[in-house]
Amino acid sequence: MSSLSRDDVANLARLARIEMSEEELVSLSHEFTVILDAVARVQEVAGQDVEPTSHPLPLRNVFRPDVVLPSLLTEEALSGAPAQEESRFRVPQILGEE
């Protein structure tokens, strides 16, 4: 039986960049015990000899001609921006203070 502790969920939430309340961490860890049990059934039939399928179409290296087409204007691209400055996206600080 697989299970996830509250700390496991907290670590996954950090990796997925989602802040979570204590209550949510605890309740999700309970739910995951049930969900993981249910989905772990895939291991019953997934033998060594079975090739995995990542995609329904057997496509490989789909190319198109390298032609320049009209693209979004700067104003259009910025139209949904939460914040902008001098025709650019303004984002919070990315690098540390030091």
């Binding site: 990796l15 802040e19 019953e44 039939v45 997934a46 399928t53 259009e76 949904g80 984002v91 600080q93």
Partner: protein, 489 residues
Amino acid sequence: MARALRAGEITSVALTQAHLDRIASVDADVHAFLFVDIQGALAQAAATDAKRAAGERLSPLAGVPLALKDVMTQKGVPTTAGSKILEGWRPPYDSTVVANLRANDIVIMGKTNMDEFAMGSSTENSAFGPTHNPWDLSRIPGGSGGGSSAALAAFEAPLAIGTDTGGSIRQPAAVTGTVGVKPTYGAVSRFGLIAFSSSLDQAGPCARNVLDAALLHEAIAGYDARDSTSINAPVPQVVTAAKSGDVKGLKIGVVKELNGDGYQSGVRTRFEESLELLAKAGAEIIEVSAPNFEYALAAYYLIAPSECSSNLARFDAMRYGLRVGDSEGASAESVMKLTREAGFGREVKRRIILGTYALSSGYYDAYYGSAQKVRTLITQDFDKAFQKCDVMVSPTCPTTAFTIGEKSDDPIAMYLNDIATIPVNMAGIGGMSLPAGLAPEDGLPVGFQIMAPAMADERMYLVGAALEAALLTKWGAPLLSKIPELSGR
């Protein structure tokens, strides 16, 4: 409607206005729409009327109004995918589906409600409140495309667009007594479809009868260089098939594993009755087995969350959508975390975390890797069965529409809704649901599912048209004529 438009008996403006009036009257009860584009719709309708008056050659559905699932971008029109994280966003571009609708002069009336990012089977996961089933307002209209199916059943729109990742077109169609088709993967471009699970997502037509669905299918399908998974081949002759409905000599395979235990008795009654009608129409009914279908649900709930955890990483509060906690000195990481906490609903978070886990080092082979192998086994089951039959059939859902709130605290019970629809997505083939009647015990619609091999979508329309015609003869009137009148306001 299309015929009346062509004959000049009605204008597109009048037809569109009548539907907008109906929306104004009943949508407070149904809540199928998140946004109604009154001005845009009437302008598009007027332009179509002008083209017709000028004698231009128009497409068969020109001037007919449509409801668009809110997961498709439409330039300048609010597009949320049912999520707070995109509330107020107006996309700067049209999806290919929208471009194709415009090219066919199909009038887009507004955006329909859905489970957040198409994750759900009831539309209860919408950040903007649930949609109600017009057959019984206390029940769910299916999901994720419950807004589109409810709009059809409530006569708010004659046509709608849905998207189907694990059944989000077919299950809503089944529980509302409407027709919904998931075409072969790659048949309809995904450009401008807000991605949930890229290897499973597929847009398709929703309508009140098989022929309308076929006409809409033909309007939106086709190769698109902007979607690298788009199929570069002619669109199957779905309209011809829907007009023919000739199933003489066709072999129909009943999936042994998608029937029996766990299926409501009224669902089974209607399913058996439909099989008899198809046999009477000249089809040969055989039984086929798909032993690995029982693992499809488990594999789906690993593959879809895995892909969504990656796809939804784009909602990072930087370029569009919600941004929370952007105070002086706040780091980008803290803004991302706070935004995603506030912007995503519970089911979305649950799936992102599950996907993050399934893809993480040390667990990848056991979960995501094994699920991909199950996908191969399911595809092989279909291949083997299609050597014996031309199409496969099953009930679309194990039960009729359940009550709003009934399953929202039990994710596993909720996921079981999709048990019969998921295999189709896993294999990338086509699936249709059409109404098979009402379950005697609760008087609610039952769906009949038809599955066809990849690139043979026309076979679903052939069988669908045959069954629809036989049922219409039996009933004397379409199923939706039995729907209770909405009081309106």
